[in-house]
Symmetry: C3
Subunit: 347 residues, 3 copies
């Protein structure tokens, strides 16, 4: 059961070169992505309506068409069979695969897999990934986590885990006591944490000329339903100006592959003090990419995957999890998702 | 659900040397094959009736018996326990495994796994695999395809796929337009294709002194229910005599291993113009074996296996496939199989 | 369905060093084992009640506590959450994982996973593994067999298999005819076999100065429900005194991991004639360990695992196994287990 009437991240734009077909499983459905001759991204259900062979095994042929590898039927990007090379050449009306609405924005290809009409105004805004004068960019990266997307959203909305699971990198004993605020907005939630006068975490120290100093630090996480998150983490000198100093805007964009596996796309922009040179910038960008990948792949993923395995083993009769104050964000998230699912089911 | 009252290919004769036991899963049942002291093939359900250990783990012992590895009970080739070495030596009447009717013909061991009496007159005839004065033989080969047998029969009965999936080897753009005729006969179907004046496909060109010439070509496929196919492909000079020139008789013999995996046995006889020497013949036989294995293992199998995976993923609620004129053979095949299954279920 | 109100072997004591946490699946439940500061073994359900992450991924922290890796909640060895480092620090009453009764005896850690009160007096007695003046000890070993525990108990209670599966090592053609007696006692069964004047099996010959001689031999197997077995095998000169001569006391202690996989713990004590030196003793101990591991891992396991696979394939509709005189022990075992399960279900 997925919320379907929503935009999901499908591919970083760079993953889809002209002339290629990329197959990906999203929401348990096989999808093939390609670009038309004008470079526009398109997405079809990756299943030939003739004999169910994946279209992605075939060839991209002239006239914005895919030719199926098995019997050579050709399909347009609207999903309809456009050419039958055999015998009388007739094409039955059922010879049509599904075409999905697609949008490309700020370096990400988005797909709409629901039955309702797509709403372009709800495409999540990751404009900060375009960069800017004071911002360095990390790599645009992706891993597959063998856990349901909901466990990863809960991970991200529960800022408390940073102090333990990412001890040293993102949090520390000094950040544990910080109060957390949860606010609901039209399309999601924002969870906010303010940590005045704490030791600078390694994430910032790595880039700083003054490692080991104390900072005022914030850590905000914004979630837009169902799967798009942005975190805004920053540190200033105690009492300093939040519009200056280190700040990281992080994209965490999840797409269910199946009920228990998730594509996790991530990238970040780092605001740096002026005066860096290009070599330094490249090094900082690389370090930022590496630290983030390390935190997600080596710290979060093993724990969340173990959690998923344990949930599957415990089964539907398992006792309900014990809830703490730190679960305020995840609890609201679950409630909003349940409401969205219920609305879709009724509709 | 398998048609069970039928002969299925179990092993090439050469796969069953005297003194050995060969275990194979057929129609989801474990079967052990061996030869009696006179060399006759036999087949038993590969499951000791005592504690369900595979008999094939045991030993072939004198007196045409198998001794179970676990507690040493001995079984005759009729499946009955013939010796209990322990204590009072008594043997309960239930101590009997199933023995299957077996027939060996033209180098293939056939098995009958149904409840009805076996009918020797319906053993498929692959006499052409014995060779003859003008015929060279390929190797007798086998691969396991991870797809149901019905998908492979449909593949073979749909001649149109040759032009695309085997483009260059068996078909080409020039053969696409050819008309196909489907005829039903007592035990199956014949699908026929006649392609006058087309470029010679590589399959024949490989053996020919005149590569690149044009030929009249035929491609007939004969299916005997449930799983035995013969194709007859040939080429003559345009307007030439079909009783001369290149001709390949190909055996395609399928046996379900499980609902989604199939043993695919294949071999062929090639009619060659007179005057070849033995060294040439050996080379041609090898080439023929290699081309066929390549076409089935590298071209057909990946596509059919992808089709099978997609059918499993789509599940029983999937839309029905769109049918084209090229599906005339497969559609008749499905109907005949459904009728056979219904007859067996009623019986 | 497991008998749960019983002691199960969890770990050899040596497998649980101070300061470490060991995760093991027992009866389909994840369990984490550790020692308190006084060295006493403890066992908790290996599942944080907060978000179901395995506690064994966390850290052993001072004060006999485990700290969960994910959000740093701390749990005492009674399973209760003892510290919440976040925000207001409140702990909901549901924040408690299950603690299991544990006992350590003669080098084995035992666990009680049932709902009834644990009964210390029923801990199986493996005192002979402490050794003694005339006894040499094998290694304490463990393998995982991919078969249900009941198939292994049946293997052990059916002494007849020794003559075939362990032909040469433990039995031989000469031991086949021996009569077997089965006796029920309060907590289980004893199966006894007496084999006068037979060739000495390799198991003893290996240690003997007189290989190849004839011996009187006994082979008794004692089973205590549900999973604790001891065998007592010995050989004397024909007509000799059973309180002297070679004798092996073997521990076979099974614990279901899942319904189809089992932890098999084994160890043995060998009574040797006086006069061995230490180097000889070490060699004999090693040989004893190796022979036993070989017999279980290379001879029993492949057969029992094939049996399990075949039982799973045959499914619930399979015909019932044919029973022979040699099945007297296993048949009684099944009946006693069924009664125990029925009693637990009623309770
Ligand atoms: S399966 Fe695609 S053309 Fe036949
Ligand atoms: S299982 Fe075959 S003899 Fe016992
Ligand atoms: S899952 Fe253990 S503390 Fe949260």
């Amino acid at each position: 059961m997925y919320v379907r009437n929503a935009w999901y991240a499908a591919l970083w734009s760079q993953e889809l070169p002209a002339g290629q077909m990329i197959a990906r499983t999203l929401l348990d459905e096989p999808v093939v992505f390609l670009r038309d001759d004008a470079g526009r991204a398109a997405a079809l259900l990756d299943r030939c309506p003739h004999r169910f062979v994946p279209l992605s095994l075939g060839a991209r042929v002239p006239g914005d068409r895919i030719r199926c590898v098995y019997h050579g039927l050709e399909f347009g990007l609207d999903g309809a069979c456009a050419h039958n090379p055999h015998g009388n050449g007739r094409i039955p009306p059922a010879a049509r695969t599904r075409a999905y609405p697609v949008a490309e924005r700020h370096g990400m290809v988005w797909i709409w897999m629901g039955e309702a009409a797509a709403t372009p105004e709800t495409i999540p805004d990751y404009g900060f990934l375009e960069g800017g004068p004071d911002f360095l960019l990390s790599a645009r990266d992706r891993i597959v986590i063998r856990a349901g997307a909901e466990l990863i959203v809960e991970n991200l909305l529960d800022l408390s885990h940073a102090s333990f699971l990412h001890d040293g990198i993102l949090g520390s004993a000094a950040t544990v006591a910080a109060q957390t605020e949860v606010a609901q907005h039209e399309r999601g939630l924002t969870v906010r944490r303010w940590m005045p006068n704490v030791p600078s975490p390694r994430l910032f120290d790595t880039f700083s000329e003054h490692p080991g100093r104390r900072v005022d630090m914030w850590f905000d996480m914004n979630w837009q339903a169902p799967c798009a998150l942005v975190n805004d983490v920053g540190a200033t000198d105690p009492g300093g100006d939040r519009s200056r100093g280190y700040r990281i805007l992080g994209a965490h964009i999840l797409t269910p592959e199946t009920a228990t596996t998730t594509h996790y796309h991530f990238a970040a922009a780092l605001r740096v003090p002026p005066g860096h040179d290009a070599a330094q910038d490249a090094r900082i960008g690389r370090t930022l990419s590496e630290i983030r990948r390390y935190a997600f792949e080596q710290q979060d993923a093993p724990v969340i995957e173990a959690q998923q395995r344990e949930l599957l083993r415990a089964g539907p009769d398992a006792p309900r999890p014990a809830l703490f104050e730190i679960d305020a964000g995840p609890v609201r998230y679950r409630r909003m998702m349940d409401e969205m699912l219920a609305r879709e089911t009724r509709a």
